[in-house]
């Protein structure tokens, strides 16, 4: 039975992460992976092309060499190994899992903020500080977006939890209470 992509990503990213921590190369590896991620997002078909059996090894190797060119030694090895093992199509998942591990290690949390009106950077900073204290993180990076449908208040989404302080959900709650 083939492993699902989640399991693969977890295994490769953990190995890379442990190695990077051991060799004290965490920051350069992280930076390289972010760049690699950017390449893969900018060229949307890259994963597919590299995993395509209709292309021969030489054609693909050229691209791989190109990807490896400026990377640090561990990322270079990762790219080559992932390619050799036919897991190149999982590279994005591996990077994502690595980021999760990296954030956990550095106590960084990401959050999606939805508000009805635009918030300025000061408000955002205060929200980030408050939230960081609540969940015990050192730093919270907030990615905010506008969503007029929530009417007012704010909805914060982080790590599978939704903190809903919007007027919309409060009104829904009142409606439910009155109809009972």
């Amino acid at each position: 039975m083939s492993l699902d992509k989640m399991t693969i990503a977890k295994r490769y990213s953990k190995a890379l992460f442990d190695l990077a921590v051991e060799k004290e190369q965490l920051e350069p590896v992280y930076d390289d992976l972010q760049q690699l991620k950017q390449v893969f997002t900018e060229v949307p078909n890259l994963e597919q092309v590299l995993g395509d059996v209709r292309l021969n090894d030489e054609q693909k190797s050229a691209i791989i060499e190109n990807l490896k060119k400026d990377a640090s030694v561990y990322v270079k090895n990762l790219i080559q190994m992932v390619y050799d093992y036919g897991r190149i199509s999982n590279v994005m998942d591996i990077i994502e899992q690595f980021t999760v591990l990296y954030n956990e290690y550095n106590h960084i949390a990401y959050a999606n903020l939805s508000t009805a009106v635009k918030v300025d950077s000061d408000q955002k900073q205060r929200l980030a500080d408050g939230f960081a204290k609540r969940i015990g993180a050192k730093k919270v990076i907030i990615n905010s977006q506008l969503d007029p449908s929530i009417i007012g208040g704010a909805v914060l989404e982080s790590n599978g939890l939704i903190y809903d302080g919007s007027i919309r959900s409060k009104m829904a709650k009142i409606k439910k209470m009155l109809l009972k």
Partner: protein, 510 residues
């Protein structure tokens, strides 16, 4: 009636005062796969097995599999508008169904929602669908009879209140009719009936409901239907939902009869969703815990002790066999769980013996204790008589020269078979059953032609009802046989004036 607006606003004000503004924190996951009634979701790290989840379109799901990277969810409703990437919320609750008196007379689905178009069910009681069965000390042994009104069952395989009796047979052998007749007979017996139709055609269920309504049986019956067009999880959960509805009455000291029609379809539904959830298949591709799905369900049928109100829940699970093969996986499982089985034979059915109960392979392990004394006395030898008749019958086909004793045995046997026949939807009260069986075992029927037996029975019952009701009253009140001389006299009195249909020589009638 006048409505004053200030009263309404006062009421709303009062309610709003109680409103507590708190931050809503919800745990969510992302759907990664949807199909065939199940979904997988990533995230939901703290979800519990069996917990209810809510999809973004409002449909509920139940956690079935907890795996290292995702959770497997069965969807309780339409999964057409759930998409990959949708969010799923934890609710922190487990699945419950509405229960209580308000359900009686209604037709509902697995979630307890009405499907009979008679409006909302007003009850605020709910019970969890899955519940651990009563333990050893909460029970007592089965002691009261559950009268099915079917002669062949009440005499040969008696059922007690709190028993679990399997009804097993091929398709089209009258399993459902047996259940419906049993429900019909519970009128004025202070029993609440629950008919759980699992994967039965909607048209069939409609017919059964019509029958029940026609005979006034919907006054004490709940019909729970999970049709074949519903997703597999609904079929799988239907019997548990029915059991939860029954338990509410049982724990309130009432008596409940629950019919699961049928568990082989429930097993098929569970197999389907287990395979889609990628659980390893076992024998006949059923999952490893198929035995447990049935045992934990049937174990919930019980006779509670006096401290808990002495309520009971009698279960009649059905299993359909293929070509009479009771050694298949599901039949053997359920036979081993139940307290006995009633085997319906298709050969008997087509030869006209209806109900087609095979006396040889049908047993009741605990019901004998629950039989009333009078029935025990008249039916005691019936099983042996029938067995020796079947043996002699095949033997007698070879030769025609039989001694008188054998002939008499054959005549008695064929009359026994005839007496145990019973038309559809005509359950008999226990005192009437005792009466006709008494007439049989005391030889009053030996001189009656086979074709006349059922007419004799009906007229005898009508006659004794009319002129010797005191005899039946003794059976009803004490449960014991009245004075045998009086019984003999009454039956003889009727036999003397009985008009046979055709006058013919006794020896040619068989």
């Amino acid at each position: 009636m006048s409505i004053k607006s200030e009263e309404i606003s006062a009421l709303i004000k009062q309610q709003l005062e109680g409103y507590q503004d708190e931050l809503n924190v919800e745990e969510t996951g992302t759907v990664t796969y949807v199909g065939d009634g199940i979904a997988r979701a990533h995230g939901l790290d703290n979800a519990l097995a069996g917990e209810l989840l809510e999809f973004s379109n409002g449909v509920y799901g139940m956690v079935q599999n907890l795996e290292s990277n995702d959770v497997g969810i069965v969807i309780l409703g339409s999964y057409d508008d759930i998409r990959e990437g949708d969010t799923v919320k934890r609710t922190g609750r487990i699945m419950e169904v509405p229960v209580g008196e308000a359900l009686i007379g209604r037709v509902v689905n697995t979630l307890g929602q009405p499907i009979d178009g008679k409006g909302e069910i007003k009850t605020d009681h709910t019970r969890p669908v899955e519940r651990k069965a009563p333990g050893v000390m909460e029970r007592q042994s089965v002691s009261e009879p559950l009268q099915t009104g079917i002669k062949a069952i009440d005499s040969l395989v008696p059922i007690g209140r709190g028993q679990r009796e399997l009804i097993i047979g091929d398709r089209k052998t009258g399993k459902t009719s047996l259940a419906i007749d049993t429900i019909l007979n519970q009128k004025n017996q202070n029993i609440i009936c629950i008919y759980v139709a699992i994967g039965q055609k909607e048209s069939t269920v409609r017919t059964q409901v019509d029958t029940l309504e026609k005979f006034g049986a919907m006054d004490y019956t709940i019909v729970l239907s999970a049709g074949p067009s519903e997703p597999a999880p609904m079929l799988y959960l239907a019997p548990y939902a029915g059991a939860a509805m029954g338990e509410e009455f049982m724990f309130n000291g009432k008596h409940v009869l629950i019919v699961y029609d049928d568990l082989s379809k429930q097993a098929d539904a569970y197999r389907e969703l287990s395979l889609i959830l990628r659980r390893p298949p076992g024998r006949e591709a059923y999952p490893g815990d198929i035995f447990y799905t049935h045992s934990r369900l049937l174990e919930r049928a019980a006779k509670l002790n006096d401290k808990l109100g002495a309520g009971s829940m009698t279960a009649l699970p059905f299993v359909e066999t293929k070509a009479g093969d009771i050694a298949a996986y599901i039949p053997t499982n359920v036979i081993s769980i139940t307290d006995g089985q009633i085997f319906l034979d298709s050969d008997l059915f087509y030869s006209g013996t209806r109900p087609a109960i095979d006396a040889g392979s049908s047993v009741s392990r605990v019901g004998g204790d629950a039989q009333i004394k009078a029935m025990k006395r008249v039916a005691g030898t019936l099983r042996l008589d029938l067995a020796s008749y079947r043996e002699l019958e095949s033997f007698a086909q070879f030769g025609s020269d039989l001694d008188d004793a054998t002939k008499a045995k054959l005549a008695r046997g064929s009359r026994t078979v005839e007496v145990l026949k019973q038309p559809l939807h005509k359950p008999l009260a226990v005192e009437h059953q005792v009466l006709i069986l008494y007439a049989l075992t005391h030889g009053f029927l030996d001189k009656i032609a086979i074709d006349d037996i059922l007419r004799f029975q009906d007229e005898l019952i009508a006659y004794v009802d009319g002129s010797h009701d005191d005899l039946l009253d003794v059976i009803r009140k004490t449960g014991d046989l009245p004075d045998t001389d009086k019984m003999d006299a009454a039956i003889q009195e009727f036999a003397d004036q009985f008009q046979p249909t055709k006058v013919e020589d006794e020896s040619t009638s068989k």
